[in-house]
């Protein structure tokens, strides 16, 4: 073990002093992803969507015993938009006025002539005119807010009308039973086993799914480190002295794999931390809670980050020890990274255990699939399946290291396949 430690010490010292690599693989994701979220957060607050409400109708009408004017509707629309806190609404007297006074509008809502007459009738629909600016990044969000506000106001008027009709008919009516005769009860969350779950469990599952995808971040730094660790020794002409040292192939390979695994883990943890901060800032910006991180999930994820790191370096190793140049090592590395990307991206959207057998079986031959499935099974609390996939991941890594040991040929590393 002590010689493995010596190799690891050398690898650590060497890489930690390689500032460019450290910045590119560890610090950059940790800075860039939160910065992306922060930019989103700050700029969203700085530049809320602008909605202008124009009253072109200037009229009044009566619903029951209540007088309602177009200016009331304009006020209500603007009031509710502002009440969301996510957009700013202004009122204007005419279209020209709105374009002139608010050139950076995102949406102009026009209460057209005849709107109140239609609104107060019992057989016509009152139409609002929606003018949306092209090329506005915020227009879609503004459109969503306008849709909500229109629904609130529409709901308010509909309730009034239903009450009037009910009064005329002399019956007691709950307006909601007419407006929404069919609706969902409170959502019940259950596991595939039928066990009751909560909204928090659902959020935790979504987070786990995201973390499954985040395993993808592990592959790039690992393949870079392990390739450089073996091929780089040859290119820097240090391998020959290392190979004559009283050091077994196992000690040399394990020292490099473990050092790479730990460095890769650091890079991956930085990536994942960056990703989580990014999503937290998105939540701060848009108020949509989509993540739920608990210590046990983080524990399982940390274990899988380690296992995926070990697996990635073990997967690349048998090829790297037979490869002569950095270029051919990069080709192998790209292939491994592509496979990792496919599996981990797929796990974000696809339930692998529910795929048809003909698709599932080839996937099971890809070791990365088992890394994703450990987290998937944790998500649903399937301890036995989790253990099986974890054991497969460990065995795959060990088998690949043994293969690398078998195919590791010192003469080939020094001289190449033929001369």
């Amino acid at each position: 073990m002590s010689k493995i430690n010596v190799i690891m010490w050398k690898e650590f010292t060497d890489i930690i002093r390689d500032y460019k690599t450290i910045i590119a693989t560890v610090l950059l994701p940790l800075i860039v992803l939160p910065l992306l979220g922060l930019t989103n957060f700050v700029l969203t607050k700085q530049q809320p969507p602008i909605i202008v409400v124009v009253d072109d109708d200037h009229s009044k009408g009566v619903i029951g015993n209540e007088t309602i004017s177009s200016s009331d509707i304009a006020y209500m629309l603007a009031y509710y938009v502002n009440a969301t806190g996510r957009a700013v609404a202004y009122q204007a007297n005419s279209m020209n006025d709105s374009f002139h006074s608010y050139p950076y509008f995102d949406i102009v809502l026009v209460i057209k002539k005849g709107f109140i007459e239609n609104l107060t009738s019992f057989n016509r629909i009152a139409y609002l005119s929606k003018i949306q600016r092209v090329g506005s990044a915020k227009a879609n969000e503004a459109s969503l807010i306008v849709e909500w506000v229109k629904n609130w106001v529409s709901d308010y008027v509909a309730s009034k009308k239903i009450k009037i009709i009910a009064h005329e008919a002399g019956i007691h009516v709950n307006p909601d039973s007419i407006k929404k005769p069919i609706d969902f009860e409170k959502v019940q969350y259950v596991a595939p086993t039928g066990e009751k779950k909560t909204l928090l469990d659902e959020l935790r599952a979504q987070t786990a799914r995201l973390l499954m995808f985040a395993l993808f971040f592990i592959a790039p730094p690992i393949v870079t480190f392990i390739s450089d660790s073996i091929i780089g020794e040859r290119e820097r002409k240090t391998i020959e002295m290392l190979l004559t040292a009283p050091l077994s192939k196992t000690e040399l390979l394990l020292g490099k794999v473990f050092a790479t695994t730990i460095l890769g883990m650091l890079a991956a943890i930085a990536d994942i931390a960056g990703l989580l901060i990014y999503f937290y800032l998105l939540y701060m910006s848009y108020g949509l809670m989509t993540l739920m991180v608990d210590p046990s999930l983080l524990g399982v994820h940390a274990l899988m980050v380690f296992m995926t790191s070990l697996l990635t370096s073990s997967l690349v190793l048998p090829f790297i020890v037979r490869t002569k140049t950095i270029r051919s090592a990069q080709i192998v590395s790209s292939a491994v990274m592509s496979i990792a990307t496919i599996v981990f991206f797929m796990s974000l959207f696809v339930e692998i255990p529910n795929l048809p057998l003909i698709i599932r079986i080839p996937l099971y031959f890809i070791p990365f699939t088992h890394c994703a499935l450990v987290i998937y099974n944790y998500m649903y609390g399937y301890t036995l399946n989790l253990s099986i996939h974890l054991v497969i991941t460990i065995i795959s890594s060990l088998v690949l290291i043994v293969i690398a040991h078998k195919v590791f040929d010192e003469e080939r590393i020094l001289i190449g396949p033929s001369r």
């Binding site: 002590s2 010490w9 010292t13 002093r17 004559t244």
Partner: protein, 246 residues
Amino acid sequence: MNADIVYVKDLKKKYGNIEALRGISFNVRKGEIFGIVGPNGAGKTTTLRIIATLVKPTSGTVKVFGLDVVKHRSKVRKFIGYLPEDAGVYDRLTGWENLLFFAKLYFKDSKEVERAVEYGAKIAGLGDRIHDRTETYSKGMKRRLLLAKTLMLKPKLALLDEPTSGLDVFAAVEVRRLIKEYAKELNTTIILSSHNMLEVEYLCNRVALINNGIIVDIGSPKELKEKYNASNLEEAFVNAIRGSKK
């Protein structure tokens, strides 16, 4: 044969279709500096790599301290210190850390490690620069560090492949002085390869002249000069090669 530190018999090595060594034989005695001299591509590096257990022979026998280099690689490695021709250093490690790394691979006891590194630092003679990263070293400083790394282990057999390769005159003289002093001080057996005849004449007790994978002759520099009626080893080498072609 038993007194021989290195015993090489009918050694052949083929890389694909290329015959690098075509049946060479020689022996190296305890405490001597043995030179392998020849032009580029003669088979010097291959010979040293086989003795260093890095490359397997195609046929023939190579024994170090009576141990076959193919069957007993791990044991043989404990006796040898090898300086490759074009070796590099770990650039982001300091000179001291480079020595420390190898010392830790060779010795278990921390005091032995410390002693070896201090001895290596003394051989390297880099002063306070030993604590600087080697990326700031000149080629000569790196070569001295590598030589120090090889010799600090106090190997029973040191294999030095072109120890002054690529060095300027001053650095080369310094490295030669180091090798000579070290061999004298510790009575270590050294095999060095070189295509610099002056260097070999200055350092070696006996020399093998090698060309195209064949040893043309073996003897002390003085014997070879007399045998080939030459004023220096370079001339002796040329005459020996011409003679072998007739």
